[in-house]
Every structure is written in C-alpha cells, then in structure tokens.
C-alpha cells in the first residue's frame, strides 16, 4: 500500500515538473529548437541574448522534467529531446484518482485555514 501511494505522488511530481518546464517562453523555444535536431548548449545559447549559465539553467529545468537529456563529453554538453514523459498513457481512473485526492486536500486546506482565521 505504501509503494502505491509513493508512485502516485511521483507521477504527480513529474507532471508538476513538466508544467513548470513548459511554462516559460525561453524553455519552449529551446524545446522547439531541439525538436529540429540535437544541439550543444553553446549552439542553443546563440539565438538568445542570454548568458551561457542562464541558458544552462533553463536546460537544467528541462532536464529535471526529463524533457531533455544532456550528455557531457569533456567540456561539451550535448542536448537532445526526451519525449518519453509526454507519451505516458494514463487511464481516466488514475487521472481522476489524483484529481479527487487533490480536490479533497484543497477543500481541507480551505475549511481548516478559514476556521483558524476566524478563531483569531
């Protein structure tokens, strides 16, 4: 029972990471560029008026969401798309389970916080 709870949170976490990754215009542009073909971080940085460390930070966010895979070869960082997390098939049942768990948690926070405020 413990492990099934853990795996539910993990896929929730992963979805959060993907959304956070996609919620930035620069990162979406980086993904679109990588969709054409893999590239080195230095190549990716070129079109952006942005420092190399800044681009690298964006790539790290994409990596954490497992949308991009980075291979380090000496001082060269090769990046390519990893579309695996986007293709996870999921049943409606699993989707609704997460949905309702989230809803009940939000409801609990809403009424419990509200009651706390009223008691002050």
């Amino acid at each position: 029972m413990r492990s099934s709870v853990k795996s539910k949170n993990q896929s929730d976490d992963r979805l959060d990471l993907v959304f956070r990754a996609l919620g930035d215009r620069t990162r979406r542009a980086l993904l679109a560029r990588l969709a054409e073909k893999p590239a080195m971080v230095t190549e990716l940085a070129e079109p952006f008026a942005m420092s190399l460390p800044a681009v690298s930070r964006h790539i790290r966010v994409l990596e954490r969401a497992r949308l991009v895979v980075r291979k380090v070869d000496g001082r060269v960082h090769h990046c390519s798309l990893d579309l695996a997390p986007l293709k996870t098939a999921e049943s409606w049942l699993a989707h609704y389970r997460k949905f309702w768990e989230g809803q009940l948690e939000a409801l609990a926070r809403y009424v419990e916080d509200d009651d706390q405020k009223r008691q002050r």
Binding site: L86, L93, Y110, D115
Partner: protein, 157 residues
C-alpha cells in the same frame, strides 16, 4: 451548440473510484463549501489551475457548471445535473467535461460526521475504461500530447 446529455458508457467499459479524506470541519460546513459558488471558486481545482466560474442550481434536476482555467489559458468546464440532494449528508450529480466527455459519469459525495471531524467520501462512477489518449481531449494530458505531436512533427519536417 445543441447538447443532449450523453449516455453512460456500457457497463463493461466503466469503472468506479472511491476517494476519502477526514477533514476537521462539520458536515454542514463542508456541504456549504461544496455547493455555494462563492466558496467553490476559492478552493476548487488542482494546483496551478484556477476556478474562473461556478454556477450551481441546487435542486433535483438543477444544473451546475464549474470552469477551470488551465496553464495554457484554456477553460475546462465541468457540467452536470443534480440527482440527489440531502444536506448536509449527501450529494449525487452527473458529471462530464464539456466538449471532451463522450459519456456521462456520476459523482456522489458523502459527508459522514465523525466526532468533531467529517469523513468526506467521493464515489466517482461510470468512468470510461480506456486510455485518456483514446479520447478527444483537452486539459492537462491534452496540452502535453499536443506538444509532443508538435515536437514530433517539427522533428520529421
């Protein structure tokens, strides 16, 4: 767009889900939070999704409509009709995602007093027993599928 209420899916293709949680509040408090539009708008919706509208006609046969704004700014409307209203203990209503659901689902929420707290039990019935991806869809998974498709197409283009 004319809309006749979708039929439930065939028995063999449906599933039921039960989710429960104990919340430190009375059934009355929780029933109100679940049925009053001004309250619904404050807590309804997953993380990162904003409730942009709630209409509730709380009577048997009455309709409700709850709008959720997704990260991509699209609004997903959940709609249905009330079947059973027994304040503060129970609510049963049909449920579908406007423009997405091909069949009608059903949700029952029970608020069982347990001392100073309440057991909230959600039973979601008639869930289609198919991959999300098999259905025309917007929403979270739809955003991701759309992006995957776009990226795949750019790759092979």
């Amino acid at each position: 767009m004319t809309e006749s209420a979708p039929e439930p899916a065939p028995e063999s293709q449906m599933e039921t889900l039960v989710v429960r949680r104990t919340i430190r509040a009375t059934p009355e408090r929780l029933f109100a939070a679940w049925t009053e539009p001004e309250q619904l708008r404050q807590w309804w919706g997953p993380e990162g999704v904003m409730c942009v509208g709630a209409e509730v006609d709380l009577r048997p046969g009455g309709r409700y409509r709850i709008g959720n704004q997704l990260p991509d700014k699209n609004i997903l409307w959940i709609v249905g009709e009330f079947e059973v209203i027994e304040p503060p203990r129970r609510l049963t209503y049909t449920w579908r995602l406007e423009g997405i659901s091909e069949t009608a689902e059903r949700v029952t929420v029970r608020f069982d007093a347990q001392g100073e707290a309440t057991d909230v039990i959600v039973t979601h019935e008639r869930i289609p027993n198919r991959d999300l991806r098999d259905q025309h869809q917007h929403g979270w998974q739809g955003c991701l599928d759309g992006l995957a498709g776009y990226l795949q197409a750019s790759r092979s283009g």
